[in-house]
């Protein structure tokens, strides 16, 4: 378990029991309590919270755990309190969200356990890298829709945009440039672009919801680099990953080598890299010869007609 891993105050109180044991306030009580909050917070996101479908039986204070009396602390102080609980250096912009993620743990302890050991969680808790995502970066704060809901950020078709839009647009290139000793850039352009050119994405976008998106291969809360032995994209585990029931059940060891969206380069998949160069050379040669021929022929023809 990581050193920075926070423990929810709920879990402290309850002796780390499962969320089934937490008595959630429900029905009229919640409505009354939330109405109190919404007297002031009716203009912001809190107002939208009323329309949400999941979490509708939760009170505001179930997630905003630091708020127990009125008048309550400002959000900055909530962040500072979270900081004290072990989040290390919190940049000011992330303080609020760090505090918010912190209360998801209470119920979603299974996802949290996975998250602790995956790349995102480790970046957050071990390296205190506050660019790493919290729960609320992928799941909406006040309107968490079900993943079957078209409006959800984690609806399969929306996942690639959720992952790429804010974070993974070109991030691999930077990370790899830092991490390789020689300073080589392994990818020549963003591999996410390669995903959006792929058949998986087009199938996903235009009617095959089963088609692979980021989470299908990288998992949702157990994301690990290809070298980690438990990683779903480790060569040893790829047969299971690609061979999921709705994907390629008859997969084999050779096939899974081709999976992924790395851009071929001189260092990686050199055959493909040079084949691509060769084909573009062929195409440009043929097309420029044709352009020269056609323009000369057309010119001759026009001269003759006059």
């Amino acid at each position: 378990m990581c050193s920075y891993a926070p423990v929810s105050p709920y879990q402290e109180q309850l002796g780390a029991k499962g969320y089934e044991d937490i008595l959630l306030p429900s029905g009229e009580f919640v409505k009354q309590q939330n109405a109190q909050c919404l007297q002031c917070h009716h203009l912001g996101e809190g107002f939208k919270y009323q329309s949400t479908e999941i979490h509708k039986e939760l009170a505001c204070t179930n997630c905003h755990i630091d708020i127990s009396e009125f008048p309550h602390l400002a959000t900055v102080e909530v962040g500072q309190r979270a900081n004290k609980n072990g989040f290390g250096q919190v940049s000011s912009a992330r303080k609020h969200f760090t505090g918010a993620s912190y209360s998801c743990i209470t119920c979603h302890d299974k996802e949290y356990a996975d998250f602790l050991s995956d790349s995102h969680g480790r970046a957050l808790f071990e390296q205190a890298n506050f660019k790493a995502p919290l729960c609320t970066d992928c799941h909406r704060r006040h309107n968490p829709f079900s993943k079957q809901d078209l409006r959800s950020r984690v609806y399969p078709v929306n996942i690639p945009k959720t992952c790429v839009r804010d974070c993974h647009a070109g991030i691999e290139e930077l990370v790899l440039r830092d991490s390789t000793a020689s300073g080589q850039v392994v990818y020549e352009s963003s591999p996410e672009e390669a995903y959006f050119e792929s058949g998986h994405w087009k199938a996903l976008k235009y009617g095959m919801v089963n088609s692979a998106q980021c989470v299908s291969c990288h998992t949702a809360h157990q994301i690990l680099g290809p070298d980690a032995p438990q990683s779903s994209i480790n060569m040893a585990n790829r047969i299971q990953t690609c061979g999921q029931k709705s994907c390629h059940p008859q997969t084999n060891a050779n096939f899974v080598q081709a999976a992924g969206h790395a851009i071929p380069s001189r260092h990686k998949r050199a055959v493909l890299f040079y084949a691509k160069k060769l084909f573009s050379l062929l195409i440009w040669t043929v097309f420029s010869l044709l352009a020269v021929y056609i323009s000369m022929d057309a010119y001759k023809r026009l001269r003759k007609q006059r």
């Binding site: 087009k202 976008k205 084999n252 050779n254 043929v286």
Partner: protein, 268 residues
């Protein structure tokens, strides 16, 4: 065949036409063209994200895939029929004439290569040179062409090279598990690359060059399959002269043999 013995004088042809594309080839051409258009229209949106808006226009990804497969079957069938009906019989005909000769010797023989009309011959190199001189205004006339000129040969060989590439790479993409049972996974990626790049090449060549070359009234020529005598004299003078020589020979020695090369000529 020569039709001069049919009521001489009465129906003397006002203008003669020459059969260039027999019915078999015309049917094959139009199946090929239709399949090619469908393949291009369904393949481009699958390749380029910028054209992907066409996918819902055709009715979703599944429909686009099916259309692509059906059209690919059409294209492949035409290619295989061309091999079965044209290429293999030609090679057998040539081989029957020289049976007994060793293949290695045969391949060295110049006349063997000249018997296959769509292969590049020595004359084509000269034609290219003369064409360049013509376009540079050095000489005033184009070289004299036979039945198939440099352009035809280039186009035909491009298709002949492209078809196996497209068929094999397409099959590798359709059934990647078959391929990877024996070969490493990079072959699937290579197939993907080859399929899309070769397709781009083909689409460019067909829609720009081919349509430029055939021009107006291109559909009519491929529907009737005939060239007028004037077109024949202008575009295929060597073939025209050969047909005339052949006819003269046939007239001298009353026709017992069919004309060479499967060429037919009729009067209207």
């Amino acid at each position: 065949m020569v039709n001069d013995k049919r009521q001489p004088g009465k129906h003397r042809p006002a203008h003669r036409t020459f059969l260039r594309f027999p019915l078999k080839h015309r049917i094959m051409h139009w199946i090929f063209a239709l399949s090619f258009i469908v393949l291009a229209l369904t393949g481009l949106p699958l390749r380029f994200d910028g054209l992907a808006f066409l996918i819902p226009v055709f009715g979703g990804i599944v429909v686009v895939h099916r259309m692509h497969y059906v059209a690919a079957a059409g294209l492949s069938a035409v290619f295989l029929f061309h091999l079965l009906l044209d290429v293999i019989p030609l090679l057998r005909r040539i081989y029957a004439k020289v049976s007994g000769l060793e293949i290695s010797l045969l391949l060295k023989c110049k006349r063997f290569w000249h018997a296959i009309p769509l292969l590049p011959h020595g004359k084509d190199l000269e034609d290219v040179r003369e064409l360049i001189l013509y376009y540079c205004n050095v000489v005033q006339s184009k070289p004299q062409f036979d039945r198939f000129n440099v352009h035809h040969k280039f186009g035909y060989l491009a298709v002949f090279w492209g078809m196996p590439v497209m068929m094999l790479s397409g099959l590798a993409m359709l059934k990647p598990m078959w391929v990877t049972r024996l070969l490493p996974g990079d072959f699937v990626l290579l197939a993907k690359l080859a399929h899309s790049e070769e397709a781009l090449l083909a689409i460019g060549v067909i829609f720009v060059w081919h349509l430029y070359e055939v021009r107006f009234p291109f559909v009519k020529r491929m529907l009737t399959g005939r060239l007028s005598e004037e077109e024949m004299m202008r575009h295929h003078p060597l073939e025209y002269q050969r047909i005339l020589r052949q006819r003269a020979r046939q007239l001298r020695t009353l026709p017992t043999e069919p004309a060479e090369g499967g060429l037919e000529e009729s009067s209207q």
